[in-house]
Symmetry: C2
Subunit: 197 residues, 2 copies
Amino acid sequence: MKNKEIQEQRMKGYFIQATKEILKGEGIQNLSVRNIADQAGYSYATLYNYFKDINDLLFYCINDFQEECQLFTEEHTQKELKGIERLKATVLAYMRYFIEYPGIFDLFYLVKMDGLGNKASTIHVINNSLENVCAYDWDYCLSHGIIQPAEMEVLKTQLKYTVTGLLLFYLNRISPESYPEFIENSSNQISHVLNSK
Amino acid sequence: MKNKEIQEQRMKGYFIQATKEILKGEGIQNLSVRNIADQAGYSYATLYNYFKDINDLLFYCINDFQEECQLFTEEHTQKELKGIERLKATVLAYMRYFIEYPGIFDLFYLVKMDGLGNKASTIHVINNSLENVCAYDWDYCLSHGIIQPAEMEVLKTQLKYTVTGLLLFYLNRISPESYPEFIENSSNQISHVLNSK
DNA sequence: TTTTTTAAATTAACAATGTTAATTATATTT
DNA sequence: AAATATAATTAACATTGTTAATTTAAAAAA
């Protein structure tokens, strides 16, 4: 009875992998059940033997992408930096991840997840996405007395909303119009939030 | 040749009105061409005699809603308040408008507007939505020397991203979980942004 | 090794969507 | 009143998510 389990996980993996590829490549507007099944090498109805519906499939992707995002930011922030400087670099790397994969931004922040199914735990992952990526930096600032515990909560929240807002307007509403402007703007806003430190 | 124009505007008005009603009532996920036409009292294909596509129709709604939002905030902030206090009240009223009509939030900030058609001017309305609603307050603060011009730009930007982020997480990701929490959270964050004044 | 049973995958089918083409009904002009 | 132009409707198509019916492949029993 163990083989069954292994095989089922493997099949799920194929569909999850296909979904992730489409999400990263063509984006969420080109994602469809038939598309996914094609990429996975199966018929569209087969998908429903392994997932309740397309949302169910998306939940798995969110967890995977959060992990990937964590790795991405670690790789893209120089290890020499410390404290506030490092925190800022981490946040900017976090943003770059979503700029590189706008479909993942859509998935994390824009998709409607109406059926209350699996949701709870996945919503939790999203709500703590940035905070988790920055966990090391927050800890460092705390243990070195750079930020007081009380203020840290406000900063975390402020940063979360600012970062999401910046990404939302750039990716979804073309403001600012160019990437350099966006980066400069983002850098300024993040500094402004953190310099009330 | 003037009657033609009047009649055409009237017809457009029926569809726009219908669209707005559905958007405010059932929300964007229940909006469809057939739905709109039903509400307007015409067949679905008739719509295409007056609008290029459904996006074209949405553009008109955005302008109307922005005006309505402006009126809403004016009515919901006490006239006695002045300066920063009044600004804060205006921002909170702005947020309440979108809480009352989540479909309008979707329309303003979440909908994909891919065909570059009419877009430019409508995008501009959205990008300046909050700033315009707060125009009176910003002017007051400026002319009374409460905020310096240079800093004001940063605050406007910061406020825009914070407000959008707060709404996005509450409406789309259920965080925080209750409305009182959301209001308290929002109030705190807005104060925090403005108190660096 | 056949045969039977079970499980898995595929094709058919449905309802809902946006959009266009073909057709009918309504005004307008001659 | 007849002919023409305009506007509205029904038909039709392609695309979506999802379910039901059917075929194919795998496992178990003989």
